[in-house]
Symmetry: C2
Subunit: 211 residues, 2 copies
DNA sequence: TTCTTTCTGTAGCGACCACTAGAGAAACGT
DNA sequence: ACGTTTCTCTAGTGGTCGCTACAGAAAGAA
């Protein structure tokens, strides 16, 4: 049994038995991403989810497990698609400094892209929670703190390569980047335009230490 | 009838009739502030509130109206106490630039003060919501955007007084300050220490334009 | 066709949501 | 003491929460 409880063909290429799923799992998942992204984990009910996904509750539970598992799959999916800008910037730019510059500039665009929720799902979808959302919130916090350490690692390389002044502290610089990103995400949710966020990112980058 | 539905003495100084309230309204309000601050508006139930306030639901409704009215009173109270740092900085510092410097440095301390929730209540207590919390979220967003315009006004004065370079844009600078504050609030909630936030604020201030 | 497998829709589980009716308790003035 | 006023406590209201039992539908296998 695969994670989603089904596959189109068996191991030997034989067709799967039983009634086939009547909805597009990928499309339904994408709708769930949008709902969680917009309203957050605890504040999005299963009824909200089934409505936007266009399926009944039993189908949701059969295909995704439960609400928490669905959310985690949504976070993973978000990270592969809309939220991939951070990994891409870190992977494609040659230095940490260049990655940070690209990161902040792309965030301004990504956080205000039309036709989808504003801001970053990893940042904003589990800010308010009670016991039921504590684990999920801890998971997102873990992602954020891991991202911070990744940036810090890249900046440590910059420091060793002489691309940062010897007095620069990679950990603090990384936290500064995270702070600006989280602030930009909230600003986007408060109505800031892409141009306004671009200007904010530009100011933040003037704080970057030069050798 | 006063807002809270009672007073200790009547207009003529005569004692109030009827059974007196058996709890300290101020103390109960303060506990409600802490609960909303920690968990947010929609994710704090009336049962949570009555528990931390130490009163029954009918007493809460008699003394504060309903959940929304209680929250609004909590926001007002927060603004007078723990959240007053912004107004104080803007009122006491002679220039916008000095106010911003003080603001960011005090935020590092206020957002990580021991014995109370981390971050800023106005920033973080209505990030995730559905229909029921939409009005409350809009109210907080209004406070944030009003604060931004207040800072912008002070920076406009700095610009006119020649304390900022003529190319500086007060609106963008104000939004940068708001972005860093919102980011610092989230960082505090993610576990950043006061020292770490201090260092972040210091970096942010290096971006401040000098004449 | 008939059996087996898997999905879907109805209907509802106990728990909780914000909120309140109504009875009794505790203060007042007279 | 007695009536009036106001608060508190018990016990609920209808509605929604996440989740699921069960029956019927829709597919492949025999």
């Amino acid at each position: 049994m695969t994670e989603d409880g089904r596959r189109t063909t068996g191991p030997g290429g034989t067709a799967r038995r039983g009634r086939p799923r009547s909805f597009d799992r990928e499309a339904a998942l994408e709708q769930a991403v949008l709902a969680f992204w917009e309203h957050g984990y605890e504040t999005t009910s299963v009824a909200d989810l089934t409505r936007v996904m266009g399926i009944g509750a039993p189908s949701l539970y059969a295909a995704f497990g439960d609400k928490k598992a669905l959310f985690e799959e949504c976070v993973a999916r978000y990270g592969e698609r809309q939220g991939s800008y951070m990994g891409v910037a870190l992977a494609e730019e040659p230095t940490g400094g260049a990655a940070v510059r690209r990161l902040l500039r792309e965030a301004a665009a990504v956080f205000t892209a039309p036709g989808r929720p504003r801001g970053c799902m990893v940042i904003s979808s589990a800010v308010n929670y009670q016991d039921a959302g504590a684990e999920v919130a801890a998971g997102l916090r873990g992602i954020r703190n891991r991202n911070l350490r990744t940036i810090e690692g890249r900046l440590r390389e910059d420091l060793a390569a002489g691309l940062l002044p010897p007095t620069a502290d990679p950990a603090t610089l990384a936290r500064f980047v995270g702070t600006v990103l989280q602030g930009m995400s909230q600003q986007a949710r408060d109505g800031a335009t892409r141009q306004e966020l671009d200007a904010v990112a530009e100011i933040a980058l003037t704080a970057w230490p030069a050798v």
